[in-house]
């Protein structure tokens, strides 16, 4: 059986050599092209991929080739779970996998790894995104606020671990707050802040009671605990936890 499977030798950037079955190696369109257009016996250099990363990638290719060829008895759901576990790696490894999958032209792996990063970042705030991708913010403060205001609805979040970007409220809404017996309360209804203390007064507080009012007025309010208050230019962020009811 060994004589019927062709092997291809791959050398990585850190001089490690891997000998792999042709069917597994040609999952990479790059390797396939080099193999078919070059000398079949020579070693193929994969300059931009390290040994560790290539080892992982070959695991992926082998799993997928075996499952497609029926060599392994694995259902689509099980393969999907295997893939999900495959990408449970640290961020640097994930980025390395993306670069390697791109360079080696392994489309399904590139899709999988990019989708994984997309899922990790989809709930993030713009500031966190800039850190993740090392992006310089080239907006002026006014320009950024204008873009935020235009896209305000995309910042509404409720449920789960949430952050809310709250804009400064007009004075008439402030007066409702003052008449409330509890002087340190801010009430959040549906997706909007109904009333709140002024930004400067909030900034001095270490903790704040936040109440969430369900739409049915007879249901009692739910108290949330605020973990942290950040004051930025023209906005406040409250970090708090909700229990998400499904």
């Amino acid at each position: 059986m060994g004589s019927t499977s062709t092997k291809i030798k791959l050398r990585t950037s850190d001089q490690k050599v891997f000998e792999v079955e042709k069917a597994v190696a040609v999952q990479s369109q790059t390797i396939k092209y080099i193999y078919e257009n070059g000398c079949p016996d020579s070693v193929i250099h994969v300059h931009s991929v390290s040994g560790d990363i290539l080892s992982k990638i070959l695991d992926y290719c082998k799993k997928h080739v075996n499952s497609a060829a029926g060599k392994e008895d694995i259902s689509p759901e099980e393969l999907y779970e295997w893939d999900a576990n495959f990408v449970k790696v640290d961020q640097n490894t994930l980025f390395d996998l993306i670069l390697a999958a791109n360079c080696l032209k392994i489309e399904s792996l590139l899709d999988l790894t990019c989708q994984t990063v997309a899922n990790m970042i989809k709930g993030k705030r713009p500031e966190e995104i800039r850190t993740t991708f090392n992006i310089k913010n080239d907006y002026t403060i006014e320009a950024e606020e204008a873009v935020r205001r235009e896209n305000k609805w995309a910042f509404d979040m409720l449920g789960g671990v949430g952050t809310m970007v709250i804009e400064e409220l007009a004075d008439d809404t402030m007066s409702k707050c003052v008449t409330n017996a509890k002087s340190r309360v801010c009430v959040i209804a549906a997706n909007q802040i109904v009333m709140m203390r002024s930004i400067s007064k909030l900034a001095n507080k270490k903790s704040i009671d936040v109440y969430k009012q369900p739409q049915n007025p007879t249901t009692p309010r739910i108290k949330e605990s605020v973990k942290q208050i950040n004051v930025g230019t023209g906005f406040i962020e409250l970090f708090f936890h909700f229990k998400c009811k499904m």
Binding site: L99, K122, N151, A154, F242
Partner: protein, 404 residues
């Protein structure tokens, strides 16, 4: 997430971003100017839509009529099956005020809303929340001379009961085709006999205007379930012949060459009036749900056509108490309306009929409830944001958790 060791090249960052939901991308407009402008390029919009298509990120809207205000509104259903498709939010359309607009599409994530009784229409991208009001058509209504009465008749009514919304790939343009039914009467008579005439109007988003096109011999007589546009062509049910010689037909319109055609409807199981045939779009092709008009236990056949050949895809056996299908959700789940006008779900994987907690008992015109599905998309339509003129108002449903 921490600061990385290195930066990913731009092309790969864009590849990752194209897999994000529209809401996240909208939020990330303020990350930097380059990202904001990249998200608006046709290439990015197309990649993002393609990803949504691959992942079948279908959003479901139930079109209903409020029992108190008699206004049409949408209930957006949760995407998650384990949540039993509960209502996530309700979307009201103050733009249409006291009228019940018909919904056409979706095409590339866009829906077209048309008032059947007046010249009022809009194109809507519910993902980006862009709303574009179409201009009124300035097309002249023709005069009608009645030779019998030897006089010109008066135009008594104009209605827009059949339409479609689709895409012309040759000109990269979104178009709306609308059938106009004109009713003429002799205003001098006390009980005038109505005379009918039809026109066809075509709207192009690129030119932002309507033009008249020749009317086909057959006019649409029936509606489809949800979307009636697929792959460049719009479809309507039509018919010919008297009761005993009745033949169902399909009228089609090619958005590209702007021509009408007629296709026959095969006799699937039996013929009208024993069976209903509801046209719909299924998995990217024109299909039909065929089911008996009589009987307590209804069995549904799904047929799909490809290049003129109809093949039966599957059959859903005997569901009791169910009257009409509303359309398919994700994964082949079928939404149905029962004899009490409640919305039920036939779960394709468990083969079970489930009640959904969508309380329609307070609704009005419950027999007009319809299901519409759209994929998320970033496609731009030169409209304005929903909240600017408050044309569209969203209300989260109680206990709904918001998503990223």
């Amino acid at each position: 997430m921490q600061r990385p060791r290195f930066e990913l090249p731009e092309a790969l960052v864009m590849e990752i971003l194209s897999k994000l939901p529209v809401k996240s991308l909208t939020r990330f407009n303020c990350v930097c100017k380059y990202w904001c402008s990249s998200f608006q390029t046709p290439h990015f919009i197309s990649n993002n839509y393609h990803n949504n298509l691959e992942n079948n990120n279908l959003n479901l809207l139930l079109s209903r009529c409020d029992g108190n205000t008699f206004q049409r509104y949408f209930s957006q259903l949760s995407n998650e099956k384990y949540q039993n498709y509960i209502v996530k939010q309700n979307i009201h359309l103050p733009f249409f005020r006291n009228d019940l607009p018909s919904v056409y599409g979706a095409c590339h994530g866009l829906l077209c809303l048309l008032d059947p009784s007046k010249d009022k229409a809009a194109i809507w991208n519910p993902s980006t929340r862009e709303f574009k009001i179409l201009p009124p058509s300035s097309i002249q209504r023709p005069p009608y001379f009645s030779p019998f009465e030897e006089t010109y008749l008066t135009l008594d009514d104009v209605s827009f009961n059949h339409a479609a919304f689709g895409f012309d790939s040759k000109t990269d343009d979104y178009k709306v085709i609308r059938f106009v039914s004109l009713t003429f009467v002799n205003s001098e008579e006390q009980y005038p006999h109505p005379h009918f005439m039809d026109q066809v109007e075509l709207y192009s988003l690129r030119s932002n205007s309507w033009q008249e096109i020749p009317c086909p011999d057959y006019k649409p007589t029936g509606t489809t379930l949800g979307n009636n546009y697929v792959d460049g062509i719009c479809y309507w049910k039509t018919e010919t012949g008297a009761y005993l010689d009745f033949r169902g037909l399909i009228l089609s319109f090619d958005m590209g060459n702007e021509k009408f055609s007629i296709l026959p409807i095969p006799e699937f199981v039996g013929s009208f009036p024993e069976y209903y045939v509801n046209l719909l779009v299924f998995n990217g092709s024109l299909g039909a749900i065929v089911y008996p008009t009589e009987g307590i236990d209804t069995s549904f056949d799904l047929w799909v056509t490809s290049e003129g050949v109809w093949t039966k895809q599957f059959n859903i056996k005997s569901i009791s108490g169910v009257v009409h299908p509303l359309g398919f959700g994700k994964n082949g789940d079928l939404f149905l309306r029962d004899t009490n006008d409640e919305v039920l779900l036939f779960d394709a994987s468990t083969q079970e009929l489930k009640e959904l907690q969508i309380n329609t008992y307070l609704d009005h015109f419950r027999f007009t409830i319809s299901l519409h599905a759209y994929l998320e998309s970033l496609v731009r339509i030169n409209g304005i944001q929903e909240n600017i003129e408050k044309h569209v108002i969203r209300q989260p449903a109680r206990d709904a958790s918001n998503e990223y």
